[in-house]
């Protein structure tokens, strides 16, 4: 432990040089901007700016790129809260309560809680990284296809409880997302599926197009049909002192932030889109443990604090498998791996001994970066909240322009914009029918990985389904899934029994 602390202090020495501090600041600012713009998520942001790091040392380059990563994660939450447009996947869950808070004139409080929660969680996660990285990385190695499959199935069922509506409807949406995820090349055999002879569909349906379509365009379209008087209205933004969270908000949030940080840190270590799973799991835990679960979905501050903390902690701990194993478990860390290789640093078990300045310097810079994000974002809360003063008649076309531009920039593809518009109409139609978009989106991200894990597990076990129950970690996740499925049914039965017992 002492040795780790010594290394961390040395890392702070590296991270606090003028050059590294400057690039950390640039990374955090650019990341926040990238995250705020719908469609331009951390992946596009890091990819666009890798060429700008060619002249820098590996440590400085990675400090800047990591800054873009967690800056974008924070920025993505801003648009979720203000416009119901998730800047990136992990912010989808923030839309649920964050946007409702904004609609009630509490956008400032939601944004400030995001910044504070992200800072606390990020700080805790960094200390976790320092002390737990080596043993936890070994534990993550115990995940095989069966465990991975069971974890994702558990994720779907957890998510189906999240949205607060009918569990069957949520599961249906998750299955639709999985089906959409099968479009394109078979991940095992490479055969084309559901492409109908087009080359465009060979790469699958662009996830960002579905995300912006279902949430951003769907929200725009549901507002467009409203009467003229509603379009002239803007959300009331309170006075400056009311923009920040009250003591009561902070008291309510602190538990959620700490729980979110723990969940996010743990989930960040396992394969998959960690921030997405972490945010959903945190939301679920908060809803289950809350004394007022009925407030979730209607602007509960814990529904913003927990997932945002989980998101940030998961982003940080996702660096452990990248650095220690050399395996990126999510697309943004995969791009960071590419950047490391370009700079001649090969991540893996030898990285700590061969490039200690990179490893510990980046870890220390994350702490500094989180502090910079807090300093940057808290003063800008009133500025961001003022976006809501713009009447919807003007705001809706502006959001549409940014959605279309953001969508195009992902792959420089106009067909992606058509897909986004199609999913916008689907999203609006789903709202009319009372169907949630979040389960569909998560299933779309996890679908291909779920299928590969399912097929690999069965291949290894020669077609024996017992493999999912005979492996302890997998059995644990399946048991948790079963519990999550049964608890609502038992509760409903108990309510019916109570109603019969007390008819008055």
């Amino acid at each position: 432990m002492l040795e780790s602390l010594q290394h961390l202090f040395a890392g702070f020495g590296v991270a606090t040089t003028t050059v590294n501090l400057t690039y950390c600041l640039i990374g955090a600012i650019v990341g926040t901007l990238v995250g705020v713009l719908p469609g331009l998520g951390p992946i596009a942001g890091i990819a666009l700016l890798i060429p700008a790091t060619f002249g820098l040392s590996p440590t400085t380059a990675l400090i800047m790129l990591a800054g873009i990563y967690y800056g974008a994660m924070y920025g993505g939450s801003t648009t979720s809260i203000l416009l119901n447009v998730p800047g990136e996947t992990a912010s989808v869950i923030t839309c649920i309560d964050g946007y409702r808070m904004a609609q009630k004139g509490r956008a400032g409080a939601a944004l400030a809680i995001c910044a504070i929660g992200s800072f606390i969680a990020g700080t805790l996660a960094i200390f976790g990284m320092v002390f737990l990285a080596p043993p936890l990385a070994e534990a993550a190695l115990a995940f095989g296809p069966a465990e991975y499959f069971s974890l994702m199935v558990c994720g779907f069922v957890v998510l189906s409880n999240v949205t607060g509506g009918s569990i069957v409807k949520s599961l249906m949406m998750a299955v639709v997302g999985l089906i959409i995820g099968t479009v394109g090349l078979d991940p095992v055999t490479g055969d084309a599926r559901f492409t109908f002879g087009t080359t465009y569909l060979l790469g699958g349906i662009e996830f960002v197009a579905v995300a912006i379509g279902l949430f951003g365009i769907g929200e725009i379209l549901s507002n467009v049909g409203k009467p003229q008087a509603a379009l002239d209205q803007s959300v009331t933004v309170p006075r400056l002192k009311e923009l920040y969270p009250s003591l009561q908000d902070l008291k309510q949030s602190i538990g959620a932030i700490l729980r979110g940080a723990g969940i996010g840190f743990g989930v960040g270590l396992v394969p998959g889109p960690a921030p997405v799973i972490a945010t959903y799991a945190s939301y679920m835990v908060e809803k289950k443990t809350s004394r007022h679960p009925e407030t979730f979905g209607h602007g509960a501050v814990e529904g913003v604090a927990g997932p945002e903390a989980a998101n940030n902690a998961a982003c940080q701990s996702a660096f452990i498998p990248l650095f220690v194993l050399g395996i990126p478990f999510a697309p943004p860390t995969a791009i960071l791996l590419g950047a490391l290789l370009i700079h001649g640093v090969v991540p893996g078990p030898m990285m700590i001994s061969e490039h200690p300045e990179v490893f510990w310097g980046v870890i220390a810079s994350m702490y500094i970066g989180n502090f910079i994000l807090l300093l940057l974002n808290l003063p800008f809360v009133p500025l961001f909240a003022n976006i809501l003063r713009i009447p919807k008649r003007v705001l809706l076309p502006l959001v549409m322009v940014f959605c279309i531009t953001g969508m195009y920039t992902v792959n420089n593809s106009i067909p992606d914009i058509w897909v986004m518009l199609l999913f916008g109409v689907i999203g609006y139609t789903m709202r009319i029918g009372g169907f949630e978009g979040a389960p569909l989106l998560l299933a779309l991200v996890l679908g291909p990985k779920l299928e590969v894990a399912f097929r690999q597990a069965l291949m290894i076990s020669h077609g024996d389904f017992g493999v999912f129950l005979s492996r302890p970690i997998s059995a644990f996740f399946l048991a948790a899934t079963f519990l999550f499925l049964c608890v609502p049914l038992v509760r409903a039965a108990a309510r019916r029994w109570q109603a019969r017992a007390n008819p008055a």
Binding site: M172, V175, L231, R393, P397, I417, W418, L421, F454, M459
Partner: protein
């Protein structure tokens, strides 16, 4: 249409979507669990979606029988109206012309059409807002972020 009716239509669409997935996947190699073919996973998903939507529809029927005047379970959304159609029409037109007109002109056209479709009557205001948006978007995306956006015929 009442909310239950909308939910029922949604359930039927999903049932048909599951059926279509199943039918299409049967045209692919299925294999077996030891060596799954391309169509196995979509086939399982198609069956699962049909089962879930079947359960959902059965639940709706049972709820209707139990209490015919049950309160609406889904929020009322505004219907597809003339304004909605104009807004979508303007968006579709702008996207169709994106490659030809280039980024700044498309943004200008899109903003102008959308503002008009949402009932902004003064042409001066529409033109000013559209121009300001097109210019800011051009400076931000093309000049500052250096994102390659369609230049179109004007070559901007």
């Amino acid at each position: 249409m009442n909310p239950q009716g909308r939910e029922a239509i949604g359930g039927i669409i999903l049932f048909l979507f599951g059926g279509a997935t199943l039918a299409l996947s049967l045209g692919m190699p299925i294999g077996n669990f030891r060596a799954a073919g391309t169509g196995l996973f979509p086939m399982i998903l198609g069956i699962l979606l049909m089962t879930l939507s079947g359960l959902f529809l059965a639940g709706l029927v049972a709820a209707k029988r139990k209490s015919p005047s049950a309160p609406p379970a889904v929020p009322a959304e505004p219907p597809f109206g003339r304004q909605w159609a104009m807004f979508m029409g303007a968006t579709v037109l702008a996207v169709a012309l994106f490659g030809t007109l280039g980024f700044p002109l498309t943004v200008f056209l899109l903003m102008a059409l959308l503002l008009r479709s949402l009932g902004m009557r003064k042409w001066g205001g529409v033109a000013l807002l559209s121009l300001a948006t097109a210019l800011s978007a051009y400076v931000l995306f093309v000049k500052i972020l250096k994102i390659p956006l369609p230049a179109g015929l004007p070559g901007l």
